[in-house]
């Protein structure tokens, strides 16, 4: 009897481990939409990136200062970005300033995409090697950063922007920024 009880006590680690495993298993298939970034409350890291249309034109972090805006990370290899693109065009039509960052992609394909689907971006950065993406801690595309007029990152949204999400919470967040 005493031995059985001891055995039960000693089984506790096993049980705990299985509980952890269930979550790990579910985590494998889950879809991390909302994630905080380590950079929230900090300025966009320094960078120099080429413009997507023009190799000789370069942009740096100063483009994020002066007005509040969205920084949208996208790529042509990303099907979700395709779905998101229409909504970005709508946002651009509402005079929301969006900077695009083409992430680990092919320049020609990206330009064709922007020409065919209409270009919602005021400035388009070309982050071929994902360097700025690495500094920002980008998980994948699409991701959108909310940046205030001082160039400080206020919010990070992982996954696509769509009308429902925008109207429910993100719009208020954007309007609330300085």
């Amino acid at each position: 009897m005493a031995n059985t009880r001891k055995m039960l006590t000693l089984s506790v680690p096993l049980l705990l481990f299985f509980v952890v495993c269930i979550f790990l298993f579910k985590g494998l298939y889950s879809d991390p939409r909302k994630l905080d970034s380590a950079l929230i409350g900090k300025a966009v890291p320094e960078f120099i990136l080429q413009d997507i249309y023009d190799e000789n034109k370069q942009h740096d972090a100063s483009i994020f200062k002066g007005k509040k805006m969205l920084l949208n990370v996208w790529a042509t290899w990303c099907p979700t970005c395709y779905a998101e693109h229409k909504f970005l065009n709508k946002l651009a039509a509402q005079d929301i300033y969006i900077v695009g960052m083409n992430y680990k992609d092919d320049r020609k394909k990206a330009i064709r995409w922007l020409t065919d689907l209409k270009d919602p971006y005021k400035i388009s950065l070309f982050d071929k090697d994902g360097m700025l993406g690495m500094d920002l801690g980008v998980y994948g595309a699409p991701e959108t950063y909310f940046i205030d007029s001082k160039g400080i990152i206020q919010y990070r949204h992982v996954g696509d922007l769509n009308a429902r999400l925008w109207n429910e919470e993100l719009k208020a967040l954007f309007n609330g920024m300085q």
């Binding site: 096993l14 299985f18 495993c21 790990l24 991390p32 909302k34 905080d36 100063s62 090697d129 690495m134």
Partner: protein, 650 residues
């Protein structure tokens, strides 16, 4: 052709690992002596073949064979040879190959260096290690093969390596970490073998102790190197970020630290045995879990919308098999273990138990902090992020009792200790610690904070207790100097290790409380002053490197008017990729680091400059180095070298 041979030798190594598991166990079952004895030879053969495979991959990297996909994506012909070599373990496939290589290396070391252990026990240990190897070989061969070809359309040259990754710190620290991670497999195998045998005695604790210590030393130094690399290369001035990858290495370290202490009790007093076994299982399980977290991309760097769960699923299945299996074995077999030793409430045993409890609490904090975001999301509460404040405040709380006990514990005897006897040494240590703390803060702190007072006091408390205990022990029978030479290596190991912890605590406290970080705009000729230091911006010079151009700032640093040094932070633009890189200038010192990073040139001709003053930050890495050194001292102790004598005594 060579790549195919590499893959083939890997498959052969897998076969030997399988034999290494099955044949000796069959031998034990069927009582066939030669089958039992074959374990060592099979292990050595397994090691030879996996080494061949690793050497071939390295050679392919050096020879720039871009027909191999892994090489084409992780190296290019312009890289210097040492970066091409380190690129072998620069990404997923190769780092797993390194993992199995190191596992084979540890197994081989066990096979060769355990001549004095009973053949049957060693055969069991090697069988367990073989089984682990088989799992990893299958993982590499089935999901992450580094030898796959890009034929028929192979690239002329490989991808350019990220400049951030071209660094000596990154060459060294992953293999160190892996040696530590994988090294815990030996302690794990010893524990499982002992459970299978149903024989958990102090001999078992004694055998696994030096192996555990070796793994712990590697892990300690590996983590310290990683932290140092992040500090000087990433340019954020931080030294620890509590990100999941760091936590993945920190958790096995905490479990390992608890394990080396609890092994001491099990070896010397024969108690806590089932607890020690659980820790041995945990330390390695956490290493595996860390691998899972990092390699499945479940927590980091996942491409969330197109992630391939196949690899993750494989590791998860392997985890369930290995960890689940061993915990099941534990639940069944450990209940038969009986502890015979007796001890009172106030004794070395309970002090070490409290060490373990606090370490486990810390472990749970890290584990929760790492996994909770995952759990939180899965039960539908939305994503949360547990950041630095959570970890920092939890650790600030836990370190207080931990350090207080740590100071007291070495004075306390096994079995029982009268409190009155301790009064004098503790009072003396308290007075010494308080005086030094106040002097220290008076000389180095710019202002007073309670947190700094507490942290520095805890550090000096541990230091003075450690030194006082050494003094008492040395003068117990001899004069001080003679006594110090008579002390055993393992006593020195304890003292140096504890002192290392104290040094680290002081470093962390000072850095966290008194760092100054300034982002300023400076024109040439201007200067800025803080903490007695003048930073004078003399000039900007043009920079012309091999594959980059840029500017270098020249700063003259003076302290209270006295010239200290000239610092030259660089701003490089890599010509091919048009990629800017900041090479910060760091002036390292015992009591402080000065750190200057150049930002952009501003339209009005000024420069954005980032200046850090980091007091005592070197201590954060010097402490772990002392701990690592202490671990080596402990392994050199007489009783592990002259085993025969001891066994006869026992």
């Amino acid at each position: 052709m060579l790549a195919e041979i590499g893959q083939f030798t890997l498959a052969i190594a897998c076969m030997f690992a399988l034999l290494q598991t099955v044949y000796p166990l069959y031998g034990i079952y069927a009582r066939q002596q030669n089958a039992i004895e074959s374990a060592k030879m099979l292990t050595i053969l397994q090691f030879v073949f996996v080494s061949l495979s690793f050497v071939i991959l390295s050679y392919l990297f050096l020879a720039n064979d871009f027909t191999v996909t892994y090489i084409a994506t992780n190296s290019n012909s312009a890289l210097p040879w040492y970066y091409r070599l380190s690129a072998v373990w620069g990404a997923h496939e190769g780092s797993l190959l390194l993992w199995v290589l190191l596992l084979a290396l540890w197994s081989c070391a066990v096979a060769v260096m355990s001549k004095r252990l009973p053949v049957e026990s060693i055969a069991r240990v090697l069988a367990v290690l073989g089984l682990l190897s088989v799992g990893f070989y299958l993982f590499v061969l089935l999901t992450s093969n580094p030898f796959l070809r890009t034929l028929p359309y192979f690239p002329v040259d490989g991808r350019d390596l990220n400049p951030l990754l071209q660094d000596i710190g990154l060459i060294l620290h992953p293999p160190m970490l892996y040696m530590g991670y994988v090294g815990f497999s030996v302690a794990f195998a010893f524990a499982i073998a002992a459970l299978m045998e149903g024989r958990l005695d102090s001999a078992w604790a004694k055998w696994s102790r030096p192996w555990t210590m070796a793994a712990w030393v590697f892990l300690t130094i590996g983590i310290a190197l990683g932290s140092w690399w992040a500090y000087y290369e990433l340019g954020w001035g931080g030294w620890w970020f509590w990100d999941p990858v760091e936590n993945a290495s920190f958790m096995p370290w905490i479990a390992g630290t608890a394990l080396i202490h609890s092994l001491a009790v099990s070896e010397k007093r024969g108690v806590f045995k089932s607890w020690t076994v659980l820790l041995a299982i945990s330390a390695f399980s956490l290493s595996l879990l860390g691998t899972f977290l990092v390699r499945s991309g479940i927590l980091v760097s996942v491409h969330a919308f197109a992630s391939d769960p196949e690899r993750g699923l494989f590791i998860l299945a392997f985890l369930i098999l290995v960890i689940g299996g061993s915990l099941l074995l534990y639940a069944v077999q450990a209940s038969k273990v009986k502890s015979r030793g007796r001890y009172r409430l106030f004794s070395r045993e309970t002090m070490l138990l409290s060490n373990n409890i606090l370490l486990i609490a810390a472990l749970i904090v890290v584990l929760l902090g790492t996994l909770l975001p995952l759990v939180h999301k899965e039960i539908g509460l939305g994503s949360i992020s547990i950041g630095e404040p959570f970890f920092n405040s939890m650790f600030s709380i836990l370190v207080v009792p931990f350090a207080l006990f740590l100071g007291v514990a070495p004075f306390v005897r096994w079995k029982r200790q009268s409190i009155n006897e301790l009064f004098k040494p503790l009072l003396h240590s308290l007075i010494i610690a308080t005086v030094i703390t106040l002097l220290f803060l008076y000389s180095f702190a710019s202002h007073f904070t309670w947190l700094a007072l507490m942290g520095v006091f805890l550090g000096f408390w541990v230091l003075s207790c450690t030194c006082y205990e050494l003094y008492l022990r040395a003068t117990h029978r001899f004069s001080l100097l003679k006594g110090l030479t008579k002390l055993g290596y393992s006593h020195w190991a304890m003292s140096v290790g504890h002192a290392g912890f104290a040094v680290m605590i002081i470093g962390i406290t000072m850095t966290q409380n008194y760092s100054i970080e300034r982002d300023v705009k400076l024109h040439i000729g201007e200067s800025i002053r803080f903490e007695h230091y003048d930073f004078h911006f003399d000039a900007v010079e043009a920079l012309q490197g091999k594959n980059y151009t840029g500017s270098v700032g020249v700063f003259t640093i003076k302290k209270d008017g006295q010239y200290v040094t000239t610092m030259k932070p660089e701003k490089r633009i890599y010509t091919v990729q048009r990629m800017p890189m900041t090479e910060a200038a760091i002036d390292a010192g015992v009591t402080r680091d000065l750190y200057i990073a150049m930002g952009e040139m501003l339209p009005d001709g000024g420069w954005a400059v980032r200046i850090y003053y980091k007091p005592f930050i070197r201590w954060i890495w010097f402490g772990p180095l002392m701990m690592g050194f202490a671990g080596i001292l402990m392994m050199l102790d007489r009783r592990y070298r002259v085993k025969k004598v001891d066994e006869e005594e026992a």
